[in-house]
């Protein structure tokens, strides 16, 4: 069954690259593959599939959590993507500079989208750190063409930065994997499977292990968007089509986080949890602070969302570093953030299509002009900023409580301060966009009121709301299982 999870999106992706003419068939293929992947993932909650390939591919509670987020998110975005591709004209003028540009062939876009899903699945189900590395690198390569969908010079610049910065980061992570292998030289067999490493964690050489963690943290941290290695992130998120931004923020960043968690768990088992935990806390706080600085006075709403992702990745890292209750909160926060951020990016796509601008200052009267997208945008903001009754409020509170329980009063204070600043800064932009009177010509609102453009973000928003008001027992169990398996509990 694990094979199917990998092969369905791979096969569908390759197939859709060959379907050059049959656009309708290709979009159905995308939807069917996404639905099949989601159904398989859902069935894995009922019957846990067997590990395959000498135990290199398997589903532990962490894998299942990451896989479910990815799969659910992909299903929602694929509905949006199918509608988006149907409506997007192949040639158009760029609203920022008035240039004429074309889109990349749709067959390639859909194919890469599906391959992107396959590579993220590989990362989630890898039980071998080398294979996990291969998966993370493959996600970069599958997603680079997606960022360069609108063929103009800004997206090309973003693609280049993304490719080069992430590839160098990933290369450092490979060196980190080799350091791990050197650290394991004292054990009878050098294997990078998680079972083997965890079982022999006490025999690993602590010096090499620490060095390996540093390299892997910098490497995967680049991909995850932790400051100061986050520089590719705002560019890629603002220039990619909104569907892709939603997937990058909601699913890809998590995959890199999984890579860090796996090694953090290993260091915890080897008795070096304090070392890696402190690094995670430090990087988490730095990321939050850097994001806050750039969110204040941010003039581009897609970049604002991108910096908000940097902030939330910082929160995840902070929670995982603190451990205990905060580690559990970090798992819940990841679920919440993925859905809320994907919702916001999809809505940003609607706003962009209607107003033809990314500037927060030129969008006014959203509530009036777009009666469905507007309210959802405000709700999405309240969710992402951590207001009740949304899920992010709960998870941020759990992390705060975890920090206080651990006696980290200063960290808790800094955490609250930054969250407060970001709330105010985002509120200013978002509320100004929502109220007021639309300037100039009325926005083209017909298109964005269609079901495909509104239902996916609405569904994601409903999920985040549901997680805020009601936490089923099975989910609580799954989250705490994941936190335990990730070594942050």
């Amino acid at each position: 069954m694990l094979w199917l999870l990998l092969l369905i999106p791979t096969g569908a992706g390759l197939l859709s690259m060959t379907l050059r003419r049959q656009a309708r068939l290709r979009r159905w293929l995308l939807l069917m593959a996404a639905a099949a992947h989601a159904a398989l993932t859902a069935s894995a909650w009922v019957v846990r599939p067997e590990a395959v390939l000498y135990g290199w591919l398997g589903l532990d509670p962490v894998s299942l959590l990451f896989l479910s987020i990815t799969s659910g998110l992909f299903l929602a975005t694929s509905v949006y993507a199918a509608g988006y591709l149907r409506r997007e004209p192949p040639r158009k003028t760029d609203f920022q500079e008035g240039l004429l540009f074309t889109d990349a062939p749709e067959a390639r876009f859909v194919g890469c989208l599906l391959l992107f899903l396959a590579t993220m699945t590989l990362v989630a189900v890898s039980r071998h750190l080398g294979l996990l590395w291969v998966g993370v690198e493959a996600t970069t390569l599958a997603s680079a063409p997606l960022i360069y969908f609108h063929r103009h010079h800004r997206s090309l610049e973003a693609t280049w930065k993304y490719l080069l910065i992430c590839s160098v980061g990933i290369a450092l992570a490979l060196q980190g994997n080799f350091f791990l292998a050197v650290a394991a030289k004292g054990t009878p067999e050098v294997h990078l499977t998680i079972e083997h490493l965890m079982a022999s964690s006490r025999q690993l050489d602590p010096l090499w292990l620490k060095a390996a963690f540093l390299l892997l943290l910098v490497g995967y941290g680049t991909k995850m968007g932790l400051a100061p290695m986050h520089t590719w992130l705002p560019d890629a998120h603002s220039e990619a089509p909104s569907v892709v931004s939603a997937l990058l923020s909601g699913a890809l960043l998590n995959c890199a986080f999984l890579g860090i968690l796996r090694v953090h768990a290993l260091l915890g088992a080897a008795g070096l949890g304090d070392f890696s935990g402190q690094l995670l806390i430090g990087l988490g706080l730095v990321s939050m602070a850097v994001a806050a600085v750039f969110i204040i006075e941010q003039a581009d709403f897609k970049r604002m969302l991108a910096y908000s992702s940097v902030e939330h990745m910082g929160i995840l890292s902070l929670g995982a570093g603190l451990g205990g209750l905060a580690g559990l909160g970090s798992m819940l926060h990841m679920v919440n953030h993925s859905f809320a951020k994907a919702m916001l990016f999809l809505l940003a796509g609607n706003i962009l299509a209607a107003y033809r601008t990314k500037s927060t200052r030129q969008v006014r009267g959203l509530l009036q002009a777009l009666p469905l997208t507007g309210p959802l945008w405000v709700a999405g903001f309240l969710a992402i900023a951590g207001s009740p009754p949304f899920g992010l409020f709960v998870s941020e509170l759990i992390i705060l409580k975890g920090a206080l329980q651990g006696g980290h009063v200063l960290i808790a204070a800094a955490y609250l301060l930054i969250l407060g600043i970001i709330f105010v800064a985002m509120a200013r932009s978002v509320l100004q966009m929502a109220y007021g009177v639309p300037e100039g010509a009325a926005p083209e609102s017909t298109r964005v009121q269609e079901a495909w453009a509104v239902l996916p973000p609405m569904a994601l928003g409903a999920l985040v709301l549901a997680l805020g008001v009601y936490m089923p027992a099975w989910l609580q169990e799954a989250l705490s299982g994941a936190a335990q398996a990730a070594g942050v509990r």
Binding site: G130, H152, A181, L192
Partner: protein
């Protein structure tokens, strides 16, 4: 065969210095291809006592890709863009060489205790692998042309590969193939991007890609 390995390690140092000191893109490509050939030979030497099909396949495939296919791709990219020389790098060629020699010294400082710490095939190879990775990073941050930055990335990968060899880390075949494939596809995708950059901008100077900023 420690002496033969040491000779190869010295050759690798020379290839690195060539990469740092040369302004001609074609010469830089040759230097990186030479690194790949040296590493292929070293991979066979390290495993000379128990040479099996697996080792030979990996060594031949990686040498073929890194010394044959990728240089061909990059040469095509520079032909398309019309760039011949790396012009005015952020760190000049002589200065790069001096920094490189400094890095080499630093790598000796770090490398010798490391090789004493854990039994390794060749002490020199560890130092040189670190030096190669550092050279790659230096090239990436100090050069303007997209092609040269890709060469730096390849040099980094070569250094990491050499590190794995120096410690005789036997990764299973699947992972080795995965790593190799990733490097190949990464450079392939980068090559396509460079082609697009040269078409869109009429140059491949990455410091002039500066429309996106805060």
């Amino acid at each position: 065969m420690p002496t033969a390995l040491d000779i190869l390690a010295v050759l690798l140092i020379l290839a690195n210095l060539r990469l740092l000191g040369s302004s001609r893109l074609a010469a830089c490509i040759r230097a990186v291809a030479l690194q790949a050939v040296i590493l292929g030979a070293a991979a066979l030497l390290v495993n000379l006592s128990d040479l099996d099909v697996r080792v030979v396949i990996i060594a031949v495939a990686s040498t073929g890709l890194k010394a044959g296919a990728l240089p061909w791709l990059l040469r095509r990219a520079i032909r398309e863009s019309g760039a011949v020389n790396e012009i005015e790098p952020f760190i000049g060629f002589t200065a790069s060489l001096l920094v490189g020699v400094g890095l080499l010294g630093l790598c000796f400082l770090i490398g010798s205790p490391l090789s004493a710490h854990v039994a390794a095939e060749s002490g020199l190879l560890i130092t040189v692998s670190l030096f190669t990775t550092a050279t790659g990073l230096l090239v990436i941050v100090s050069r303007r042309k997209a092609v040269t930055q890709v060469l730096g990335y390849l040099a980094m990968e070569n250094g990491i590969y050499a590190f794995g060899m120096a410690f005789a880390i036997q990764e299973p075949l699947l992972v080795e193939m995965g790593v190799l494939l990733d490097v190949f596809v990464a450079v392939f995708v980068m090559g396509i991007t460079i082609y697009n950059i040269s078409r869109e901008f009429d140059h491949i100077d990455t410091d002039r890609l500066s429309a996106l900023r805060d």
